[in-house]
């Protein structure tokens, strides 16, 4: 069985973008047998995390298939670019969190697939903070945290084991 690794590189210093800005990057798959790759899907999407069930929407989607007779060597850099939308902005709330990411899903022969993500921030909304229960509203107003948003670098590491929908993500042998 092949060893594989997908590398994603986003253009930009801190993986933080503003609405309307162009998100561009590249990826490549390190694999011994590139013919084993049936298709690769590139998605730029947001998903929620927190107490509620997950919501997700895809902003950009591209499927590069090797099944139509045209072989694309995924070991070579593949570029992608898309203009980011106005919303929803990345948000780190108390029970609702919104994350943006570039997700690369590689489909191998024999029906296996694996996922790699690169998280980035859209906008700079500060972290949400719960209003203290029983706070007197006639006094100091309760406000969202005024500090700088959490650095996207904290969670910008590509994750090869993240399969939010429960699909199988096989590890390399």
């Amino acid at each position: 069985m092949n060893d594989w690794k997908t590398s994603i590189r986003l253009i930009g210093d801190d993986h933080s973008y503003q609405p309307g800005e162009m998100l561009s990057g590249e990826f490549f798959v390190q694999i011994d047998e590139p013919q084993d790759i049936r298709a690769v899907e590139v998605s730029v999407l947001w998903f929620t995390e927190g107490k509620g069930d997950e919501d997700m929407a895809v902003h950009y989607f591209e499927r590069i298939s090797n099944e139509n007779g045209q072989f694309v060597d995924m070991r070579k850099s593949q570029q992608f670019a898309t203009e980011l939308p106005e919303s929803p902005l990345s948000y780190d709330g108390v029970i609702v969190k919104i994350h943006w990411c570039v997700r690369i899903r590689v489909f191998l022969s024999r029906g296996r697939d694996f996922v790699t993500e690169q998280v980035f921030r859209l906008g700079n909304v500060p972290r949400g903070r719960a209003v203290v229960e029983g706070a007197d509203l006639d006094s100091e107003p309760e406000a969202l945290e005024q500090s700088a948003p959490a650095s996207p670098a904290d969670d910008a590491t590509p994750r090869s084991d993240a399969v939010p929908d429960g699909d199988a993500a096989d590890s390399p042998a």
Partner: protein
């Protein structure tokens, strides 16, 4: 002193057991897919087999009668009657009509009314069929040209075709379910989402509409469709009170009418000297519940009718973080308002499934008083009106609407009325992201 808890909502449904949420997935996705496949496969098989049987036994013969049987005339030989039959411990009635007809100079005798030899559960229906025929009279009949010995007096009903509906429904469930399962299995989640978004008109790249400009943010048509009298827009009220009142009234009526019926029976027995004390005692808790429902309904009416209308108008909409807006507050009614507060509230709302229950949790992440006034004496002819300023915090998150998660902004009007219960009304506003520096330039 007023606390946030008055403004918060927490929707909670009673559940008999609590399941561990853990890593959110409480079951095996593969097992679920297998179960779904088996279920839909069984539906498909059942539908296909039943459809085949119905078509073979009922629809095809019926179709042949209508399509290929030839018409001729027949003469009834004996007085038509009804024959009683016992089939599978059920009594059925079949009209018996014996008749003769000729095909190619050959004489045939038939006794079928229709091809299916229909039997009736009620004798009246069978008699009605046989009563339509008289001995020695001639009637049209239809015979099979391939087998002239088979003839019918009626070319049949549409029942055979209606019988197709059931297996077709099973087939549709099976085919649709299996198709959906295959779709779930064969396409990645991102691909499915992209296709669904495209199919539902939410284009991936460009959408010129307001909703397309701010994806996942609720539209503001509810506000902009309602112009204000003083300021640009009148804010819509978030109200469930009307439905609560309707549901309570309905429940109260049904309960009390039922209790009254049984009470009437109990009293009648008592009056006729046949008093059933156990029954009377058993009625007491039901009667008490009915009284409690009446009292509660009265309190709800009292609460909702005592306060006049509250109107909030705003100078612009949708709102943006860091911006200030004019606010106009109007309250009608004849009352003594001990306190009238308007609070800007931002809440996160998360819905999740726990076993078979759906639970929604709410968490306030911003709460600021924008207006407060005490001791207001109001007259019906003179509604209370006031202007104030509303500022959305620069660090505020915009409104967000997902299937299971949302972030909503609203203005909560809290009225503390003398000699009446406190009252809170909510008005929704939509906050969109602030204009970025790049866009401003």
């Amino acid at each position: 002193m007023r606390t946030l808890s008055r403004l918060r909502r927490r929707k909670f449904r009673f559940r008999f057991h609590r399941k561990k949420r853990g890593d959110r997935v409480s079951g095996s996705a593969r097992l679920a897919t297998m179960g779904e496949t088996l279920f839909f496969g069984a539906c498909l098989l059942l539908g296909a087999v039943t459809l085949g049987l119905i078509v073979f036994w009922y629809v095809l013969p019926q179709w042949r009668v209508n399509r290929y049987f030839l018409e001729t005339t027949c003469r009834v030989l004996v007085e038509p009657g009804v024959e009683k039959r016992e089939e599978m411990e059920t009594t059925l009635y079949q009209p018996t009509i014996r008749y003769e007809y000729a095909v190619d100079h050959m004489r045939y005798v038939g006794d079928r009314y229709d091809l299916l030899d229909t039997r009736y559960a009620e004798r009246d229906k069978a008699e009605a069929v046989s009563a339509a025929f008289t001995i020695d009279e001639t009637y049209p009949c239809w015979y099979d040209p391939l087998e002239p010995g088979i003839a019918v007096l009626s070319r049949g009903s549409l029942l055979a075709y209606w019988a197709l509906l059931l297996p077709v429904a099973f087939l549709a469930i099976g085919v649709g379910g299996l198709g959906y399962t295959v779709w779930q299995f064969s396409a990645s989640r991102e691909r499915r989402a992209a296709i669904v978004q495209k199919a539902t008109g939410k284009e991936l790249f460009e959408d010129a509409s307001e909703a397309g400009k701010f994806p996942s943010i609720p539209g503001n048509a509810d506000v902009t469709n309602s112009p204000g009298t003083t300021l640009a827009f009148r804010l819509p009220i978030i109200s469930r009170a009307g439905w609560h009142l309707f549901a309570m009234t309905l429940a109260c009526l049904i309960w009390n009418v039922t209790v009254a019926f049984f009470l009437f029976l109990a009293i009648r027995k008592f009056v006729t000297g046949d008093a059933d004390l156990v029954f009377l005692v058993a009625m007491v808790p039901f009667f008490a519940s009915g009284i409690w429902l009446f009292v509660n309904l009265g309190r709800q009416f009292w609460r909702s009718s005592g306060i006049g209308t509250t109107r909030i108008e705003i100078s612009d909409h949708p709102l943006r973080p860091g911006m200030e807006y004019d606010l106009f507050i109007a309250q009608t009614g004849k009352m003594h308002l001990e306190n009238l507060d308007v609070t800007l509230l931002c809440e996160e709302e998360a819905t999740y499934r726990q076993g078979t229950n759906t639970i929604t949790d709410t968490e306030a992440v911003f709460c600021e008083q924008v207006f407060s006034q005490s001791e207001i004496i109001m007259e019906p002819s003179q509604p209370y009106q006031e202007h104030c300023r509303l500022r959305i915090p620069a660090s505020g998150m915009h409104s967000f609407q997902g299937l299971n998660n949302s972030i909503s902004w609203k203005l909560s009007v809290y009225a503390c009325v003398a000699r009446r219960p406190d009252h809170t009304r909510h008005f929704s506003v939509v906050v969109v992201p602030a204009v970025s520096e790049g866009a401003q330039a």
